[in-house]
Amino acid sequence: MFLQQLINGLVLGSTYALIALGYTMVYGIIELINFAHGEIYMFGAFVGMILVTVYQFPFFLAFFIAMALASLLGITVEFLAYRPLRRSTRLAALISAIGASIFLQNLALLIMGARPYTFPSPFAPMVYKTSLVTISRVELIILIVSFLLMLGLTFLIQKTKIGIAMRATAQDKDTASLMGININKVITITFAVGSALGAAAGVMVGIYFRTVTPMMGLMPGLKGFVAAVLGGIGSIPGAMLGGLLLGVAEVMGAAYISSQYRDAVAFAILIIVLLFKPSGLIGKSLQVKV
């Protein structure tokens, strides 16, 4: 029972981790909580669903196209809603983010309607059983794909030129720009990568729960944010750890307390973290710049 819940928690948590990465990367670079990120996730799920059901695309092709189109949407949101406010107060950009989120939700409602769409699972409903745990094929795919994406991201950030530029920009924008780094380009790439990961989570949750709706980004968006704060906002390993922990905590809460407390567990964790360790589990403690 416990082991089974742990697996379920990790599956859910890995999707939270992917969403949390988008929040934490954007925060790391421009100190903005991108509240429209949940809608990027929803957009990814819709693109995946439409490509698979209407156009009969193979699942993984649809998956990558959804990631690519979501990148473009993320870049567009940054360009239209955040870039003009780059030099204003952080509150202005935050309000703009909430506005972008509501706008995208309603745009989706307008275009797609309020009824939920089914996202048929492209994989045969196979389950793998051992004496201790049962795991379905979809769950296994979610775990493996999330793991590979996180591995890829870590490599991108740690080893490649663009990753080094991103870390440099996060640490000191002025100096980074004097090193010849084009800050606007780094911000664009950050939104592109974060949005692609969010869309990947959206498509996978779509085939997991087999439903896609315009409002589906709201709750996972908030949970991804909680996960990012739990791990330490701005920290990439923190977002991964925070997502997995949150998923496990939520599933355990649902299993051992009551499934109605699922969301309450997540937000109780947010409150506790903010009260006792506002910098998160592996976040850097807040430093005052001189």
């Binding site: 030129k161 663009i162 000191d172 100096t175 592109a192």
Partner: protein, 258 residues
């Protein structure tokens, strides 16, 4: 547009902050392959002048030419790409990154791979990465930090951080290197090593060097030409010997009114 063999040529350059004339109508040039010193009392406008050259500030008036090409009005990253790099008065390394990563950042403008390259990792992207790494390591050898390449930059000693900044600036393959108080806070031995390093950068790497420095032993010891700023204006220019005998300069430093 002026045409001459000056690598850097500023014509009547000014920068005002409100009513303060930080740099006021300064004509300034640097010849190819020379080591030039820029001195002046605190607040004379030396660092402001550097910031104008690197595009960090936009001039309030005047124009700046680099290799006979106008650079005033360009963004810092564009100017860096043209071959002008600098170090900072207060060390500005990426302290939480490794020594090697810091030098790799300096190489940013000299490599082409972007996001697509990072994801696809074609052979030429890999080759470029390996090349950047080789160049970075050879620069660390040049400044004597190769055995510290995996340490966090923030853990280096002060003198080492200064040398790392120089390596990082050199990684951009600049033709002109601006050094902002490179000897500040160094002990005498470190200062001597730094002077040797600056000479080697010119002699072995064929660079032009412009440095701001308060340590007169350094400026007068290695510069071929020295310019003096005071209250945003250039009050003298010449060989170290000429500058040391110039009355205006002595007055500026000792505060005697003329």
């Amino acid at each position: 547009m002026p045409s001459n063999n000056y690598i850097l040529d500023a014509v009547k350059i000014s920068r005002y902050f409100g009513g303060l004339k930080a740099v006021d109508q300064v004509d300034f040039f640097v010849k190819k392959r020379e080591i030039m010193g820029l001195i002046g009392p605190n607040g004379a406008g030396k660092t402001t002048l550097f910031n104008l050259f690197t595009g960090h500030y936009q001039p309030s008036g005047g124009e700046i030419y680099f290799k006979n090409e106008k650079i005033s009005g360009l963004k810092p990253y564009q100017i860096t790409a043209k071959g002008l790099a600098r170090t900072f008065q207060n060390i500005r390394l990426f302290s939480k990154m490794t020594v090697l990563d810091n030098v790799l950042i300096g190489r940013h403008t000299r490599t082409a791979s972007g996001l697509i390259g990072a994801i696809l990792r074609r052979p030429r992207d890999r080759r470029e990465e390996a090349e950047a790494r080789d160049v970075a390591i050879s620069l660390l050898e040049f400044v004597g930090l190769e055995d510290k390449k995996d340490e966090q930059a923030g853990n280096l000693s002060y003198g080492e951080q200064r040398r790392l900044e120089v390596a990082r600036a050199l990684a951009a393959e600049p033709e002109l290197l601006l050094l902002d108080e490179p000897a500040a806070g160094m002990n005498p031995q470190e200062t001597i090593n730094l002077m040797k390093l600056i000479s080697r950068i010119r002699d072995e790497m064929n660079k032009t060097i412009l440095l701001i420095e308060h340590d007169m032993k350094v400026v007068m010891g290695i510069s071929e030409r020295v310019a003096v700023l005071n209250y945003g204006r250039k009050i003298a220019e010449g060989t170290p010997a000429e500058i040391q005998g110039n009355e205006d300069v002595i007055h500026a430093y000792l505060g005697v009114s003329t």
